[in-house]
Symmetry: C2
Subunit: 347 residues, 2 copies
Amino acid sequence: MADLLSVAKLAGVSRATAARAFSSPELVRPETRHKVLEAAHRLAFRPNNVARQLRAQTTKMIGVMVPSLDNPVFAEQLQAMEVAARASGYSLIVTTSEYDASRESEIVEEMLRQRVDGLVLTIADADRSEVLAKLHREVCPYLLVYNQPEAADIPTIGVDNRAAVAEATRHLIALGHHRIGMVAGSLLQSDRARLRYEGYRQAMCDHGLTPRPLIEMPRHTQAELACLEPELSGHDGLTAVICTNDLLAISLIGELQRSGRSVPGDLSVMGFDGINLGHCLYPSLSTVEQPRVEIGRSAVQILLAMIRGETPQPLPLPHALREGESVGAPPTSRQVLVTRNPQRNTP
Amino acid sequence: MADLLSVAKLAGVSRATAARAFSSPELVRPETRHKVLEAAHRLAFRPNNVARQLRAQTTKMIGVMVPSLDNPVFAEQLQAMEVAARASGYSLIVTTSEYDASRESEIVEEMLRQRVDGLVLTIADADRSEVLAKLHREVCPYLLVYNQPEAADIPTIGVDNRAAVAEATRHLIALGHHRIGMVAGSLLQSDRARLRYEGYRQAMCDHGLTPRPLIEMPRHTQAELACLEPELSGHDGLTAVICTNDLLAISLIGELQRSGRSVPGDLSVMGFDGINLGHCLYPSLSTVEQPRVEIGRSAVQILLAMIRGETPQPLPLPHALREGESVGAPPTSRQVLVTRNPQRNTP
DNA sequence: TTGTACGCGTTATCAA
DNA sequence: TTGATAACGCGTACAA
């Protein structure tokens, strides 16, 4: 690939002049500039960003790490980040950690070697992270997304998980539900999971209701009906559940329907995240919406401010309770058929 | 950030020796090596990849462009690519084009300036693309994904769209459907869309059935029931539709159910792509599965081979007809109530 | 307005 | 086994 020197030669000027024709065209005589651009065109010259980055000591690149792109909540946030970044002239290096702590470390190390100008990370557990310890010693600006660490000095953007789930719980209680459960994926060791459960527990207690133990599914985003079934029958069977993510909720609804149950007729199901797909389904998903687009956009803006040397104070973004068709009043029949087999539509 | 020279000084050796301690440790005396590593540690030295890239004239980076990450078919493919790339020591620069031709050009230009070692692209229309014209003149290895250009000399990986939809159509016909329609998103100008419709048309004709005009939705991934409704009633109302992507199919199913119709009771709905979520729903989505993970993995492998200077011949990957619950036999009642209002469950 | 010369941090070649 | 030196391609302070 042609370089500036060959362009300069062909144009009959020095390399410096050729360089200026690109970086500060106003400093070069129009006639000369034209000669340079003409030569560049003939040689199919394309500025070498790597050299420019080395020289300028800045890459205009942001390193992004998310747990997985198979979950739309991250893909949708990433989509927003990419648009925002490019609008500001930045590119994204994208990696996935699969919630693996050692991969998290390797990835961040690699991105630091790449001299990214900043990092946007979603880590497995912000309260027990080697990555954070490492970044603490570095000078590279970084920002967590979705995480909600206990330590106050870690820049983070996302919703208040505890308050969000508490609100969702109160919503169900207001509808008349008393026997509410919480369904989680297999990934327990996460700051968000702890806070979400805590929000549920708190809201239940505040209303004099008994919080149940977390119902844990073997996989992170796929519900297993067998794990839930024991909690559904009997005199204290659940009438509503809150899932820790939308994929879990959606697959749970599917499983319930396939088993002949009705949602929300037999069980109200609430999700968490607000992924786009939830709108489209029938019943549409009731969920706690994290403003994924705003989170992505704003993560980029805040990080860029940090890169400029400012010290913005990221605020929690507001969640929104999105009411859908998957949540309704508790079944009245249940109160009659208390200790016996609950009514079901067989398939 | 500390550089190699300062490490060398602290260790009391030359820069060359310090460099060797990292790149070819066996060439340096253990004692010396230890001194260097010790110094590097004390200075928190981290190799500068940018400098290395400039020197080595290779970035170990792959440029990736997809239309959007809001559609899981691309996010899931990207997830697979990222894993495969990192396993081979490559990083991904990820961009989204939003099916915009001018953005496509800018993005590719920017990635070429970044001196990526290769490109993996999904473009809007492989038969009318400035991007391909540009790449044709460049030396940068590239590979299309999902695209299916007419020109045979363009390296591509994906399924045979025509054959895939033809098979889906035959599947519906075999179930007894005669009045089958095809529902597309708003994005008509795409190589895939043309071939998929062509596959549908061909299969219909082969069985002596009349292909219908494409039913076009105002948005790409969200069905609008009003656009379909006219085709559902009357003596020749549709009994089955094939959607050009899964999101369209899923949202259509939702709309149909919300309007009191049953799927597949009143209308069989088939998707295209095979996104993970389709499994979880009830009814589960019948769809033509593109092997997204295999496509992503294999795109990286093939591109890396091209980067090594080989000339692999990418073969079409096999699609799979994934039978779900959203497709069944055509409603028998319809044959009785021919010219009158078809039976419906009111909500 | 243009040219000269240096440095960004690394690796590879050649000598010692 | 180690050291000196020259690139990689670009931007810019300084001089002309």
